[in-house]
């Protein structure tokens, strides 16, 4: 192992900023990151062992105890559940003879849940040693069990197990009009960089990750900073459950995304860019590297781009942490640290990566910017609404006949979208993923727009066979699992929310418990440090607002029920007294 780690550190030029990349390789080789590995690595990177431990313990894809030679993770998104994930998981447990969270006795295979892996249009999905598995079903699990028992290397598994389809269903303004490689840069340089920034301003383009900050303004601020070492970061940490449009843009339109990043670099004066790709999209890395190589060969990346510009892009992988989609947490992660959102101000445009001015934008934002450079601001602004210009690319999944990628002008009604994707007999929609809004079937005349229903691209359809409480339950557990733990309201509050909602959903709630739930929601929403905590209560708040009677009907007709299991609390005492008779048990409440 000593030689392996020595070589690995040398390959990464002993850069502590590459810590996640290095740890990913150690995990892939040894299926855990041992204390010995940490001791070897720390002096090579000239960092404290505590920094490495805190990174290992932060990211879901790193473990400090050995996992199986085949690390199997099953996506736990609501959409996977709608496709039968629960039964499938039971089948896997029986077939592979391994418990959820456990490692099989022979050390060959381990099994666990993982947050949405971004394959909602082709689930139930999973990951094996980091590589995406799609369309899992019982026959496929049988085959996988066989492959694992025979210790067949992943490279020799059937290719269709790893097949990821784009599922592009509807082209719009952007997807209809691909730019020729390099045309965005050439047009921008010919027009002048200042004038091009003007075009982007004119286009009204706002950040496509969901927050909607004006792109031109962000680039302008960054370019005005005194510090001249600047960075461009593309946020491809597409972790919002139900979102997969960036996966498709990077699979089939990567040239244009990289062109947008290069354009940004030219405008703000950056020499280095990063694509921060969520670890779940490991399967895209080789293809993206070859696109970058192609661009270098075309003279569109690297030194002396179009005789004007030096700029290159490095791909960095995440390791299973939703919070890294928050731009300052993403920057921390790029620096080789746990993804904990920074205090703001200062904002990344003035102090970002390594403390230098940094533009962080979503994949779709760069993709759109490259097209605007070619076609001009008015072309983009002519579509959409007054406050939301242009189009939005949606990932549609759930109960519909045609899940996949759809592009719509802003201002399109929900009804039109639902008709297009073949959704019928509907309960409601989740717009913008768990952090967004649930709307009922009475609200389908509402519009896709920053001023009405904003979304980073997640669009989950629920029909009338689904349960509101199941949805809120899945989303609330997701946030408790993904909270980084930095601030009190989110660290403690998301866990309290999970407990309180479970109590009600499991039928243990009594009068006052829904009021307590709502009060907790407001506290977490108002006081949390970043967007994760500020939106973690949305699944409960938006459903409670629409279906208060549903929550109330879960409550028992008693005034109070303790939040803990009285009988279970007596277990230790029973063991010590060696008793198990009726008198040694306690009912949860006196009256039912």
């Amino acid at each position: 192992m000593q030689q392996f780690i020595q070589n690995l550190a040398a390959k990464h030029q002993y850069q502590a900023t590459h810590l996640l990349e290095i740890l990913r390789e150690i995990q892939a080789r040894y299926h855990h990151i041992s204390a010995d590995a940490i001791e070897l690595l720390a002096p090579l990177l000239k960092i404290q062992r505590t920094q490495i431990i805190s990174v290992v313990e932060f990211y879901s894809f790193f473990t400090d105890s050995p996992r199986g030679q085949y690390e199997l993770l099953i996506s736990d998104s609501i959409t996977d559940h709608m496709l039968g994930k629960k039964n499938l998981m039971e089948y896997i447990v029986g077939k592979l003879k391994v418990s959820v969270g456990g490692v099989r006795g022979d050390g060959l295979v381990s099994l666990d849940n993982t947050s949405c892996s971004g394959m909602c249009d082709q689930g139930p999905a999973g990951l094996v040693n980091g590589y995406a598995l799609t369309r899992l079903d019982e026959p496929r699990i049988d085959a996988i069990a066989e492959l694992i028992d025979q210790q067949i290397p992943l490279a020799d598994w059937p290719a269709e197990f790893f097949q990821v389809d784009d599922n592009i269903q509807k082209l719009g303004l952007l997807l209809n009009k691909q730019i020729v490689h390099g045309e965005g840069l050439k047009t921008a340089l010919a027009r002048g960089l200042k004038a091009t920034l003007q075009e982007i301003d004119q286009s009204g383009l706002r950040g496509r990750g969901g927050a909607g900050f004006k792109t031109a303004m962000k680039w302008q601020f960054c370019s005005e900073e005194a510090e001249t070492e600047r960075y461009v970061v593309c946020n491809a940490d597409e972790g919002e459950p139900g979102t997969f449009k960036d996966r498709v843009l990077l699979n089939s339109y990567a040239h244009q995304v990289f062109e947008g990043m290069t354009l940004c670099a030219a405008i703000i004066g950056a020499k280095q860019g990063f694509l921060y790709l969520r670890g779940e999209y490991l399967h895209l890395v080789d293809k993206l590297q070859s696109v970058l190589d192609e661009r270098r060969q075309f003279g569109l990346l690297g030194n002396n781009i179009l005789d004007r510009l030096d700029f290159d892009i490095e791909i960095r992988l995440g390791a299973g942490a939703y919070i890294c989609g928050e731009e300052s947490a993403l920057i921390e992660s790029l620096e080789g640290k746990a993804g904990i959102p920074r205090n703001r101000p200062p904002y990344p445009v003035s102090q970002g990566y390594l403390g230098k001015p940094t533009v962080v934008n979503n994949v779709e934002t760069f993709y759109a910017a490259a097209a605007i450079a070619v076609n001009g601001g008015d072309w983009f602004a002519s579509v959409g609404t007054q406050k939301s210009k242009g189009s939005k690319i949606l990932s549609i999944c759930g109960d519909c006949a045609r899940p996949g990628i759809y592009e719509y002008p802003f201002g399109t009604t929900m009804q039109e979208i639902l008709t297009d994707c073949g959704a019928e007999d509907l309960l409601g929609l989740q717009i913008g993923g768990p952090s967004g809004t649930f709307i009922s079937n009475q609200e389908f005349d509402r519009k896709l727009a920053f001023e009405d229903l904003a979304t980073g691209g997640s669009f989950i359809v629920f029909n009338n066979s689904r349960s509101i409480l199941d949805i809120a339950h899945n989303f609330t557990h997701f946030f408790a699992h993904e909270s980084c733990g930095f601030c009190t309201p989110c660290r403690v509050g998301t866990s309290l929310l999970r407990q309180q909602l479970d109590k009600i959903v499991d039928g243990h709630g009594s009068a006052g418990d829904v009021v307590a739930l709502e009060e907790l929601c407001q506290l977490v929403k108002t006081h949390s440090h970043c967007g994760l905590g500020q939106t973690a209560a949305n699944p409960v708040l938006t459903t409670l607002e629409r279906y208060p009677e549903l929550y109330q009907s879960q409550l028992k007709l008693i005034s109070y029920e303790p939040g803990f299991d009285l009988d279970a609390a007596l277990e230790t005492a029973r063991r010590m007294a060696n008793r198990d008779d009726a008198g040694a048990h306690l009912a949860q409440t006196d009256v039912e």
Binding site: A35, Q48, R49, T50, S54, F58, F486, T488, T526, H527
Partner: protein, 239 residues
């Protein structure tokens, strides 16, 4: 002309570069806090210093003071929420004040009294947390850690060491120490380090000193935490 902000209707002077917390403290206005300490880089994690700046919720310890700010601090709504955030800290760990040797000197306890916290409100987590008694002079009781990182910052910024760090994610956050064995005795911490004395709760204690000051004569036994905090700041200014 001095620049000013308004806190609860009163004009408070500030200098460029000051946070709202710094400006308030200098002017004798107390804003509840636990992870903040005037001698260390602000952290902004406990959220007790939550204030409203022109209607927007901010952390006073990290938010820069600027002309035109109308700050709400000592309001019923904010203090109610601060009380609940304090209750969250209490239920997350295992805090038994009557049997804790830090009682009366504990900032968590004192801030709870200041905010008139009379119960824990939320259900307890009953987390299983360990103690580290390996060090000859210093004890860690993880039951009482609130992840404020003051020991982490003190070790780095004052002691020139790197003894402590916070690890883990979400509700599994925990304090770790910089030793291969994971034990405090194998770090280079000594009892005179700032990091061994900075803990606002009873998570890091100096051994054999717990009751040298009797209960009844301790820091917060006769004074509220707001008086103590402001007096300490004054002493710093003049001392």
């Amino acid at each position: 002309m001095t620049k000013t902000i308004t806190i609860d209707g009163n004009a408070i002077p500030f200098e460029d570069g000051q946070t709202i917390m710094e400006a308030a403290t200098a002017a004798g206005v107390y804003i509840p806090h636990l992870c903040h300490h005037p001698e260390y880089t602000p952290h902004g994690s406990c959220k007790l210093c939550t204030i409203k700046v022109n209607g927007r919720v901010c952390s006073a310890c990290t938010f820069p003071a600027a002309e035109g700010q109308d700050v709400l601090n000592n309001t019923k709504d904010l203090n109610d929420d601060r009380q609940k955030i304090t209750q969250m800290l209490f239920v997350e760990g295992n805090h038994f004040c009557p049997s804790c040797e830090k009682t009366g000197n504990c900032q968590l306890q004192a801030v709870a009294y200041h905010l008139n916290m009379l119960d824990n409100h939320f259900p307890h987590f009953y987390a299983h947390r360990n103690m580290d008694a390996s060090h000859p002079d210093v004890l860690i009781d993880h039951n009482r850690c609130i992840f404020c990182t003051l020991c982490v910052r003190a070790s780095q910024q004052k002691d020139g060491k790197d003894v402590f760090a916070i690890s883990g994610r979400g509700i599994n956050k925990h304090l770790i120490v910089n030793a291969q064995s994971g034990q405090l005795k194998d770090t280079n911490l000594i009892a005179t380090d700032q990091a061994a004395h900075i803990c606002p709760t009873g998570a890091i204690l100096i051994k054999r000193t717990g009751y040298t000051v009797p209960i009844g004569e301790r820091i917060y036994d006769h004074k509220q935490i707001n008086e103590v905090a402001l007096a300490a700041e004054k002493e710093n200014d003049h001392g």
